[in-house]
C-alpha cells in the first residue's frame, strides 16, 4: 500500500539512537516518522544481542539490548512517532519546495524538511554464502526468504543452515516440495528442540533427506539451478540435483541503498560536523554508528548526545522563523506537559 506522509523529520533506522532522536525532537515539538527494515524497533540491540548485557549506559549499571529498547520505546511514547517497519528505505530525492522525500520498498513516502540517518552500519540483509556465481541465481532459483509458499510447490529444494529459519522452512515446505534436502555442517542445530525433533521425524520417514555437508558450487544456466556440489566435513565431494536452493544463515549488515542516496560517504560512513551532526548535504543529518568525525566512538551513549545536538539544529531547518529557547525537563512545565507528566 503506497502511502504519503508529511512530517518534520524522517528518521532512517529505529535502533536506540533513532528512537532517542524522537525524544529530543519531540521536546522541540518536531514530529518524526521512523523507517526500519526490521519488523520491530531496536536495531542491533534487539536483532543481534537482545539478551546480552550492556554496561555503559549512564545511570543503568546493566541493561539488556531488549530492555534498553523497551525503555526507549516507552520514553518516546508521548511524542507519537509513526513507525514504518519491515521496510527498506530505497530512495531519497529533493522536492521543488526544498523538502526531502524518502521512499521505501513498500511504497511509503515520507516527506520532511529534515532527514536523520540513524542507520547504524546499514540494513540487516540475509547472509549470502561465498559460493561463486550465486548472485546470478538469486531471485530465480536461489532464495533467502519465502514470500509465497505456493511458489515452491513441486520443486526439488535444497535448504542449508541449522537455525530456526532453516528448520522451520524444511518442515513447512516438505509437504509441498517434490523433494527436499536439508544440509548442515554438523549433526546439531541451534533451532528449537521441537523443530529439530520434527525434522528428524520427517527424515526418519523418508519425507526429507538430511545430509551433513555444505554447498561448494552451483551448477545451472541462465539463473536456473540444476544441481550443486556438496562437500562433507572430511572433504568428500558429490553432486546433488536440485532446482531450488535456500540458504538460511541469518542476517548480516550491509550499507545497502544509502550508498545510492548521493550523500558524501567516507568508507561507508557519513562525515558530519560535531556542532549539528549534519552531513555535507544541508538538511540531512547522521547520528550514531553511521556517522564519522574526529574522535568518533561507536557507543550508544555518544549517539544519544549526537541526537540532542542534531535536534537543536533540525529545529532551525524545520522552523526557520521561530526562536528556539533551551529548557530543562526537570524545570520546564511546558516540556513536562509534552511528556504528559505535568
Amino acid at each position: 500500500m503506497a502511502a504519503r506522509h508529511e512530517t518534520d523529520v524522517a528518521i532512517l533506522g529505529a535502533g536506540p539512537i533513532g528512537l532517542f532522536a524522537v525524544f529530543e525532537l519531540g521536546l522541540l515539538d518536531l514530529k518524526a516518522h521512523l523507517i526500519d527494515i526490521l519488523d520491530r524497533p531496536g536495531g542491533q540491540c534487539t536483532e543481534l544481542y537482545p539478551e546480552k548485557p550492556i554496561y555503559d549506559i549512564p545511570g543503568l549499571p546493566v541493561v539488556s539490548g531488549q530492555e534498553l529498547t523497551d525503555r526507549l520505546v516507552d520514553q518516546i511514547k508521548p511524542f507519537g512517532a509513526q513507525f514504518h517497519l519491515n521496510q527498506m528505505a530505497c530512495g531519497l530525492d529533493r522536492l521543488d519546495d526544498g523538502r526531502w522525500r524518502l521512499k521505501t520498498d513498500a511504497g511509503t513516502e515520507v516527506i520532511a524538511p529534515v532527514v536523520v540517518v540513524a542507520a547504524g552500519a546499514g540494513s540487516f540483509v540475509p547472509k549470502r554464502p561465498p559460493i561463486a556465481g550465486i548472485a546470478d541465481y538469486e531471485g530465480k532459483s536461489v532464495f533467502y526468504a519465502v514470500r509465497k509458499m505456493e511458489a515452491f510447490r513441486g520443486k526439488n529444494i535444497l535448504i542449508a543452515g541449522g537455525g530456526d529459519s532453516a528448520l522451520d522452512w524444511t518442515i513447512n515446505l516438505a509437504p509441498i516440495a517434490a523433494k527436499l534436502t536439508l544440509v548442515h555442517h554438523r549433526d546439531g542445530f541451534r533451532a528449537q528442540v521441537h523443530s529439530v525433533n520434527q525434522m528428524r521425524e520427517l527424515a526418519a520417514h523418508g519425507k526429507i533427506n538430511f545430509e551433513i555437508a555444505s554447498v561448494k558450487a552451483l551448477h545451472g544456466a541462465n539463473g536456473q539451478l540444476e544441481g550443486v556440489t556438496l562437500a562433507s566435513p572430511d572433504k568428500r565431494e558429490w553432486q546433488h540435483a536440485c532446482d531450488t536452493f535456500m540458504p538460511f544463515f541469518g542476517l548480516t549488515i550491509k550499507l545497502g541503498p544509502i550508498a545510492e542516496f548521493g550523500l558524501n560517504l567516507h568508507e561507508d560512513l557519513i562525515p558530519v560536523d560535531t556542532a549539528k551532526f549534519e552531513s555535507s548535504t544541508p538538511g540531512i543529518f547522521a547520528i550514531g554508528d553511521i556517522n564519522t568525525y574526529p574522535g568518533k566512538l561507536k557507543l550508544i551513549l555518544c549517539g544519544f548526545h549526537e541526537a540532542a545536538l542534531m535536534a537543536q539544529a533540525a529545529f532551525h531547518v524545520c522552523r526557520p522563523n521561530e526562536k528556539l529557547r533551551f529548557q530543562y525537563t526537570t524545570s520546564s512545565s511546558s516540556l513536562q506537559k509534552k511528556l504528559g507528566v505535568a
Binding site: 543481534l48 547472509k127 561465498p130 543452515g161 555442517h185 541451534r190 555444505s214 544463515f249 548480516t252
Partner: protein, 102 residues
Amino acid sequence: MKIIATDRKGDLHTLEGRDGWSVMEILRDAGLPVAAECGGACACATCQVYVDPEWYDRLPPKSDAETDMLDMAIAVEPTSRLSCQITCAPELDGIKVTIAPE
C-alpha cells in the same frame, strides 16, 4: 604473544596479542577485515576464523553458545572458531588463524 593471521587475500600478518583481549579485537585493532558486527558478544558469527589444525585442539573447547552461533556462519569448516571467543594467553603464542570469507 604473537598471532599469525592470514587475510582473505592470503597475506600473512604477525600481530602482537594482548593478554585478556580476544583474537577478534586484535585482528580488528590491526585493521584486518573482521566484521564482528555484534562487537564480540558471540551473537553474529561474523568474526569467523579457521584455526590452523595444529592449534585447533590446543584451544579451550567451544562453549554451547559458540557452537550454536557457528550454525549462523557461512563456509564453516571443522577448524572454524569465532575469534571473539578465543582469548589471548601466553600458551597461544604463535597461533595461526585464517579469516573466513564474508
